[in-house]
């Protein structure tokens, strides 16, 4: 490691001097050494230029007129070699003519020393240039550091984006009836746009805009994406999602940070839109005939209100095929032109009037915004999405790519989960068990079936097995009420009981097989009578077993009804590639 002179003695410099006059050179060299500096003396410009790279002086003192190569030429070459490094060049001269002095400065000289040399002046000038040199070096270092950090940050952003893309992927945004624009690094602008098909048909779209930019804004997007995709896939409604997301954001975001967002729940079967707009610009519903409805924000953004005060009601809009919905983040309205004017709602309205409900709505608006902003490079945090209502049968989701994903998720596993005593009354194991099953990509489409199976098994085990409630009670309205009040009462003092779920999944040639065994600590129940009773309409109970039989591939009871086993086969659309 090279120890720089700075560390040895702050004022000791390496000085290169060049003077063709032996006596002058001798004086200067001796003078500088006496001042504590290290000196290398050259007798002309060429020699100075030659030794410069190896000697790496801090300061260069050059006589102006020298044989072979004069000081002006040498100064220019030395400055070239020094590059970005500041190496002050001071001319030694007895010149008195102002023009000649100016010529020296043009050649890259930083100052003069006139003959006769004066110790005090030399010392003062060297000191000044040394401070300048150090300041320059500090600035350069800081600039390099900043450049370095910036490059590092960009690399990290690219890397982070890849991670984000895996979690906060765009879902089914590529569906035929969706068009959107979102900046490639939108996640670092705080903009989010997700879409996900619902297992029962239709889809959810979430468009949002976090306060702030950069990493803090991006971090909030992760839990949102996870909740959005997770809960939508499991069949939860838009309101459920909103409550869950809001709750999560309230917990994790610092005060003052929140997410303006709109959630759209589209149902193509009912031809219906449910919309919740919290803080985004007005959405626009453009009917097939060109009439427009503006869907204004009626709620506070996500992440502001505590769960008790949060309102997740979604407004219902009945639609027809061909109606278009447009949502955007405020980057669109706030896009500025050269005069710092904002694009604004009036221009947007005009652009929409011109575009009508065509497929190219988004393109029309974007083109207009870009034309408005002129050559000024925008912040590029415009996010727009349009959804066209279609006839249910026409709605085709992008290929599910099941064959590929089924190989990725867990396919061969087994787990046992047992709930005991007090917990039986206080906690439902169903969401957790469903969650485990939903880890299998191929089962996600079947979440409703799986939930029904788990729920019916659990309720039978709990009510008939553990609580020893008889379905015979459910023969009248009052019987129903008695049954459920008894359920509540008996749950209060459950002792020495358990319900045990054993789940196993394996891959099959056709897809996969889930085996659910539910055992309980009760004495069993008469499942045979239950099954027979369903045939008659008069019975209000017994349909759980029938549901399980029809949804599953087989249902088998053992241990007098205290152990039930269901086998559920699911199939891929295509055979699994080997």
């Amino acid at each position: 490691m090279k120890v720089s002179a700075d560390h040895v003695d702050a004022s000791a410099l390496r000085i290169l001097i060049a003077d063709d006059s032996d006596s002058d050179r001798l004086i200067l060299k001796t003078l500088l050494k006496r001042l504590g500096h290290e000196v290398r003396a050259a007798s002309d410009g060429r020699e100075a230029v030659t030794v410069f790279p190896d000697y790496q002086p801090d300061i260069v003192l050059l006589d102006v007129l020298m044989p072979v190569m004069d000081g002006i030429d040498a100064a220019r070459r030395i400055k070239e070699m020094a590059g970005e490094e500041l190496v002050p060049v001071i001319f030694l001269t007895s010149l008195t003519d102002a023009d000649a002095l100016a010529h020296c400065l043009d050649a890259g000289g930083d100052d003069f020393l006139t003959k006769p040399y004066n110790k005090v002046i030399i010392q003062a000038k060297l000191g000044a240039f040394n401070r300048m040199r150090q300041m320059h070096r500090t600035l350069s270092r800081q600039r390099d550091l900043i450049q370095d950090r910036n490059r590092q940050l960009l690399e990290e952003q690219q890397l982070a984006k890849r991670v984000f893309d895996n979690i906060a992927h765009t879902g089914c945004l590529d569906a035929d009836n969706i068009r959107y624009h979102i900046s490639p690094l939108s996640i670092f602008n705080g903009d989010i746009l997700f879409a996900c098909p619902r297992p029962a048909g239709g889809m959810h779209i979430l468009v949002g805009d976090f306060t702030g930019h950069g990493l803090p804004a991006a971090i909030g997007a992760l839990p949102i994406a996870e909740i959005f995709y997770g809960m939508t896939t499991m069949g939860f409604s838009g309101s459920d999602l909103l409550r869950e997301i809001n709750d999560k954001l309230v917990r994790i975001l610092p005060t003052g940070m929140f997410c303006c967002a709109a959630l759209i729940q589209a149902d193509f079967h009912l031809n219906q839109l449910r919309i919740w707009n919290g803080g985004l610009p007005d959405g626009v519903l453009i009917r097939r005939d060109g009439t427009k409805e503006f869907l204004e924000s009626k709620y506070l953004p996500l992440g502001v209100l505590s769960s008790g005060r949060f309102d997740a009601s979604m407004e219902v809009f009945h639609t027809s095929a061909g109606d278009m919905l447009l949502m955007m983040t405020d980057g669109v309205l706030e896009a500025e032109n050269q005069n710092s004017e904002q694009y604004g709602g009036a221009r947007l309205k005009q652009a929409l009037d011109n575009a009508s409900a065509s497929e190219q709505l988004i393109d029309a608006v974007l083109t207009d915004v870009v034309a408005f902003c002129g050559h000024r490079k925008g912040r590029d945090d415009l996010t727009l999405v349009s959804l066209k209502m279609v006839v249910d049968a026409e709605f085709r989701q992008p290929a599910e790519q099941l064959p590929q994903s089924v190989l990725k998720g867990p396919t061969d596993w087994h787990c046992v989960y047992e709930v005991r005593d007090e917990t039986l009354g206080k906690f439902s194991p169903l969401p957790l068990l469903l969650h485990i099953c939903m880890e299998v990509p191929g089962l996600r489409r079947k979440s409703a079936d799986i939930y029904t199976l788990l729920s019916e098994l659990y309720n039978n085990a709990l009510e008939h097995g553990v609580l020893k409630l008889s379905s015979d009670l459910k023969t009248s309205s009052d019987g129903f009420s008695y049954y459920y009040s008894e359920r509540e009462r008996r749950l209060g003092n459950v002792d020495g009981h358990f319900i045990r779920f054993s789940l196993a999944h394996r891959k099959t040639d056709a897809g996969g097989q889930l085996r659910i065994i539910c055992e309980d600590s009760g004495d069993g129940f008469d499942h045979t009578t239950e099954l027979e009773s369903q045939a008659t309409e008069a019975h209000y109970s017994g349909r759980g077993l029938m549901l399980m039989q029809k949804l599953g591939n087989s249902l088998r009871y053992s241990e007098y009804g205290s152990c039930a086993e269901i086998v559920y086969d699911w199939e891929l659309a295509e055979p699994v590639p080997e």
Partner: protein, 114 residues
Amino acid sequence: MNDKPHLDEEALTELQDVMEEEFAVLINTYLKDSSDRITYLRNAIGSADADAFAKTAHSFKGSSINIGAPKLGDLCLEAENAGKANRLGDAAKVVDQIETEFLRIQKTLKEFLS
């Protein structure tokens, strides 16, 4: 012609202070260079090389000023200007003056050393 002193005693003392034991080397170097330069100046007149004449006068001027011989420095400046103006006709007279002044300086400096 000019009223500057032949030798600036104060400057010389300061120089002696800086150079310490090398003071004598310095003086001897200066004296040797200077007598060489007078020869160059005469040669340049002989070969009518005004540029070389001016440059030599310039260097001579610088070292004379530095050593503490301001009057000699002024004479060298006069020679330098004559060279730059390509007036070598006038230059021979200046060189004579330079030589006279130099001999005087040389004498004093040698006394100073001993």
